[in-house]
Amino acid sequence: MADEFILETHGLTKEFAGFFAVRDVSLKIRRGTIHALIGPNGAGKTTCFNLLTKFLRPSAGTILYKGQDITAVAAADVARLGLVRSFQISAVFPHLTALENVRVALQRQHGSSFDFWRSKSVLNRFNARALELLNDVGLSEFANTAAVEMPYGRKRALEIATTLALDPEMMLLDEPMAGMGHEDIDKIAALIKRISAKYTILMVEHNLSVVANLSDTITVLTRGQVLTEGPYSELSKDERVKEAYLGAGHA
């Protein structure tokens, strides 16, 4: 069944000195879908992400990616396998132009990154692909702007373009809309929708309208454990979810 589910966890657990941030979480993420992870603050969503991308080492449990056990694989190698994350705080190379930002990612894939004796003009062969990616996320006019000078929402988009350049199969997005204005939220939401045709996406988000509109499946975490799972329409009626996450006044 490795084909149907791109990522699976079994009994994933993370303990911090006696405190269980994540406890016995088993997830199955279907290939080609948008899967959302929601839950109240401190439920363990970010910790889950950190476990999946190897920024933290699980206390127990296993992680299967494309049927392969990656529980003990190093962070950089996970990225090489096509499982790439974005950060909660925007992560770009500030003094590189948008084009260069994307090129750095392309370069990694196509070797030659240790070549200190060659001119960097060999990198120009990546320009076309980089522009294409920038175009995909609506940044073509920013190609030669340094990332530091771009507005917040655009940095977010640039980060996604950079991630796409790695040609991932699956992307993990942690609160991609945090701190964004409405305009940008809509843009990024549309972007995520568009790219989900090609990639599997797992995201954490508190913005309910985004979650409702985008996700195919939602897993609700509370106190480190899976509370329930299902499509939004189902969950929004679930009393437990209302109490733990949506709040009493939620319509």
């Binding site: 991308t53 962070a75 950089a76 190698d77 990225a79 090489r80 790439v84 994350r85 950060f87 992560a91 770009v92 190379f93 500030p94 003094h95 590189l96 260069e100 930002n101 090129r103 750095v104 990612a105 370069q107 990694r108 894939q109 030659s112 990154s113 240790f114 070549d115 200190f116 004796w117 060659r118 001119s119 960097k120 060999v122 990198l123 950079t162 790695l166």
Partner: protein, 322 residues
């Protein structure tokens, strides 16, 4: 954390062209030195230090790593070359190769250890490692401890170039310097250089893109250390001795000072800085006792008011990359 180098300058094709023009002017100026009546030993010494500072700058300016122990490569290569020339009686070209090999091995080992930490820790680790090496060289018999290796034969390079003739030696050193400089220049503007820059900008992000950043930093460290060793090997022919001075902490400080004065992370800054500092040492020798105080004052003044260094300020003024 703000970066230690001026990253706001443009990195455009024009920048590379500007830099090439300046390079040609510099090479031409250096080539006519023997006809200017300038004391050639002074210029040769300055060239060795310039190459050394450039190698150091590769690490700090483009890798964001400040090594406070770069003298160890200078000294190690010097001892290796000197030993090869004097004891084994090797010809100059092989002597230089032995020196480079020595510093290469050292840089692999020390690099492997020190890139485990960043920032201030990295500086302290390199400092401590160089002190460790200093004590080893102080006790090792082949270095002759405090006395150093003296009276090293200059010999004939490739069997034809008589290095005991100042003019011949000068051009050999100049060619060595220019070759080293060009290699560094190329490294900065290579695919590898691009990755290095992005690691300096945001290491976490580089990791998440799948780069094993330690390997890149290690390569940068090895390149820097080995080139510093090349400078040390050349210096053996100029000074005709190899001594503990070249592995001591003050020497490492001097390298930092040269680069700082010229401009950290600028292409030509270290060269200018080396000439300024070596010149100062020569011509302020009369102040004798006050030289360390003057050096300290320059450090302080640079950090407080002149952080971009000579070349950095000029580059900033003209909004050009130099």
């Amino acid at each position: 954390m703000t970066s230690i180098t001026d990253a706001t300058l443009p990195i455009t094709p024009r920048a590379v062209r500007d830099e090439m023009i300046v390079f040609v002017i510099m090479a031409a100026l250096l080539a006519i030195v023997p006809w200017t009546g300038l004391y050639p030993f002074f210029v040769m010494q300055a060239l060795c230090f310039a190459l050394l500072a450039c190698a150091f700058n590769l690490l700090i300016g483009y890798g964001g790593l400040l090594s406070f122990g770069h003298a160890m490569f200078l000294g190690t290569a010097g001892y290796c070359s000197a030993h090869a020339l004097k004891v084994w009686g090797l010809p100059p070209e092989l002597g230089i190769l032995v020196g480079i090999a020595g510093s290469f091995v050292l840089s692999v080992i020390t690099g492997y250890i020190s890139i485990r930490r960043q920032g201030i820790y990295f500086a302290m680790i390199t400092l401590a490692l160089s002190q460790l090496l200093y004590f080893i060289y102080l006790q090792a018999p082949f270095t002759h401890g405090e006395d150093g290796i003296q009276g090293i034969p200059q010999g004939r390079m490739f069997g034809i170039l008589d290095l005991s003739k100042p003019t011949v030696l000068y051009y050999v050193v100049l060619v060595g310097f220019l070759a080293g400089f060009l290699l560094i220049f190329r490294t900065i503007n290579s695919p590898f250089g691009e990755v290095l820059k992005s690691i300096r900008e945001n290491e976490q992000r580089a990791i998440s893109l799948g780069y094993k950043t330690d390997q890149y930093k290690l390569l940068a460290f090895i390149l820097s250390g080995t080139l510093a060793g090349f400078a040390g090997a050349l210096k053996v022919f100029v000074a005709q001795n190899a001594s503990l001075t070249d592995v001591e902490v003050p020497m490492s400080g001097l390298i930092v000072l040269m680069t700082l004065v010229g401009g950290l992370g600028t292409v030509f800054g270290p060269v200018v800085g080396a000439f300024v500092i070596v010149g100062m040492q020569q011509y302020l020798a009369g102040f004798g006792q006050w030289v360390t105080v003057i050096q300290g004052t320059i450090f302080v003044a640079c950090v407080l008011t002149f952080r971009r260094g000579v070349v950095g300020e000029i580059a900033h003024l003209f909004k050009r990359s130099l």
